[in-house]
Structures are given as C-alpha cells and as structure tokens.
C-alpha cells in the first residue's frame, strides 16, 4: 500500500487512522463528543466504513481506551525507571505524583480508561494487556519497600490497595475540581501532600 496515498478507493490503514482520530477527539473534546460519523469524516471515508474494522462504537472506544492505557503505562514506566536507584519510598511517592499528574494532563483519557468502557475485560486483549501492565508499577514499587524492610507488617496487596486508592482518589477529586478548597492547587502539589502522609504511615509501621 502506498503511504503517500491520493484518491485510492481503499484507505489502507483506516483502522489506525480511526483510532488516532478517536484519541485526538477524546483528548480535545471528551468521550461524549466522539461519534463514528465524525471519525469517518475526519478520515475522509463514508459513515459506514468504520464498521469494517469495529463491530460497534464501544469496540472502537475500547481501542481508544487501550491507547490511553498505553500512554498511562508509559508515563508510570518512565518514572519507575527514573526511580530505579532511589529509595523505594521515594519511588512510591514519585509514582503517586505521576499518577495524578497523568490524570490532570489527560483528564478525558483518564476518565475513559477508568469508565465502564475502559474496564470491560474479555473483549479487547490489547486493552486487557495495557490495563494489567499499567497496574503493575505500584505493586512493584511497594515490593521494593518490603525488600528494604519497610511496612513489612502489611501485605503488598494491602499496601497496593491503600496506595492505589489514595492516588486514584486524589486524581478523581482533582478532575472534579474538589481538591484545593477554592485555590487552584496544582495536581503535583495535591498529590505530594497526600502521598507524604502515606509515606509517613509506611515509616511509622
């Protein structure tokens, strides 16, 4: 297929094009603004063409969610690597901040991946994989914590629930404008404040 295509009947990479446009549209205007017809328009094909690549709109949205998870995973993975040589406590803190920062910078993608669509498992292996991968960073960092002899009285699973719930809650409340009590607190500040208490809890153990 010719990459520099002109007026060919077959698009050549419609599936990818639709997913790209889908991510773009979600990022710019939110989930509700996405319609198959609009994506088809942007890709320069007819309204029915997307159905050759996705059984229905939800399937396409799962594809978009999968890409969102991949970005999320990359953002967390980057921080994990950067903190490979710091203390485990520092790594956990940084991971928490990165979690909230991603939500703040990509609110629509974040809302999508943690919506029923993004959580529909068993339909899209790519989504499932990306979801699983992005959920592994926190447990890994907490495992390091155990290895350093910190907070060993609590199981890694329970530590994960605790830390995950905390940063996820901050992220969600931040997106809803419910954190900061009026003042436009930055997402990083909010995350730092909260994760510091978490770290204090670990230290106290």
């Amino acid at each position: 297929m010719n990459a520099a295509m002109g007026a060919t009947y077959h698009h050549g990479s419609l599936r990818e094009t639709l997913l790209d446009a889908g991510v773009e549209l979600v990022v710019e205007a939110g989930i509700d603004a996405l319609s198959l017809r609009e994506l088809a328009r942007r890709a320069g094909v007819s309204s029915a063409a997307p159905y050759r690549h996705f059984p229905d709109k939800d399937a396409l949205l799962r594809g978009v969610a999968a890409r969102g998870y991949q970005r999320f995973d990359q953002a967390l993975g980057k921080v994990s690597k950067q903190c490979a040589e710091t203390s485990a406590l520092e790594a956990v803190q940084q991971l928490g901040v990165a979690y909230v920062r991603f939500a703040a910078r990509n609110p629509n993608l974040f809302r999508l991946i943690f919506s029923p669509i993004g959580q529909a498992s068993g339909h899209d292996s790519e989504l499932d994989k990306a979801c699983r991968q992005s959920a592994e960073h926190l447990p890994r960092a907490l495992m390091r914590l155990h290895e350093e002899g910190i907070a060993t009285s609590i199981s890694v699973q329970e530590l994960t629930e605790l830390a995950w719930a905390l940063v996820h809650g901050v992220a969600m409340l931040y997106l809803d404008g419910l954190v900061g009590d009026g003042k436009p607190l930055s997402a990083e500040k909010a995350a730092e404040r909260v994760t510091q208490h978490l770290v204090a809890l670990f230290r106290a153990d």
Copy 2:
C-alpha cells in the same frame, strides 16, 4: 390540581415525575440509558413536554444528580448521627465505610454525581447545595478528631483531603472491579481495611 388525575391535559406535576423517572432510569440502567423521550414516554406526555421544565437534557440530569446527592447526604448524615456519641475515630471510620457502601449500592447514581454533570456548579442551586452539604460530614468528623486531641499536627483541611481521597478512591476502584484482586470482596470489607490504615495513621500522629 387533582392528585388522582385521569386524562387531564395538564399533567400537574410533570417536573417531579420526570425527575423521579430519571432517577429510576439512571439507577436501573445507567446514565447513558436516559433519554428525554423515554422519560416523556414514561410520564405519558409528548416528547417536547419536558422542555417546558428543563432547558435541555443536561439540566434534567443535573436535577437527577441533585437527588442523587440528597440520598448520598442522607446516607452519610444518618451515620454521622449514629456516631454522635462514639469516639471521633470510630465516627471517621464509619463514615468512610458508609461512603463506599453508598457507592457500591448506588453505582450509577454515584457515577453521575461525580461526573462532569454532577460537578457543574453555578447552574443548579439545588445541586450545588446538596453537593456542599454532603461534603461537610467528613470535615465535621475530623474536627471532632482534633477536639479529642488526635492528629492535631495536621490541619483539618489536609486531613479531609487525605481521608476523602482515600475513601473516594476505594469507592471508584471498587465500582471498576479493581479492588479485591479477583475475589469478590465486599465493599464494606474493602473500606474497613483501608480506613483502618487511615485510623492507624491518625493514632500514630
């Protein structure tokens, strides 16, 4: 207006009827399942009738969200009163459990009130009021904590952010099926586990 109405031209309480039907529909089938036409059908009026009471669909959804917040506020208020004579720590813990329990029992309402629609402030005074009210239970309980001399090194606002983020995160992750690691953990159990760590943090302070 006659309450036991027959074939009157004017409905008499269409606004309330629509909101009732809206809550019902959201509870049963989720936000996306709600359409103005369906509500009109259930109320036995024409498709355009709802526009005499709501400028658009979002306005009606805000009304539904306001009712959701009122239920939420009631659930938390009930627990607050029950815990008026217990220790402040116990009250905080019970409040956290009630928060997650409400989310688990009313997933669709919970998702609605913490969606952009439920958070749109300045449009619906009833919504704003119900939102503010339901957000006051936690700070009040944490204030009692301070009065008992617990965790006084942290401001009530910061305590609120911490506790709120934690329980909100648990609630959200629970709705997404992301807590419990496979096993069907009850919402109460999940909330208890997490809030116990929070209480431990307060005690350690």
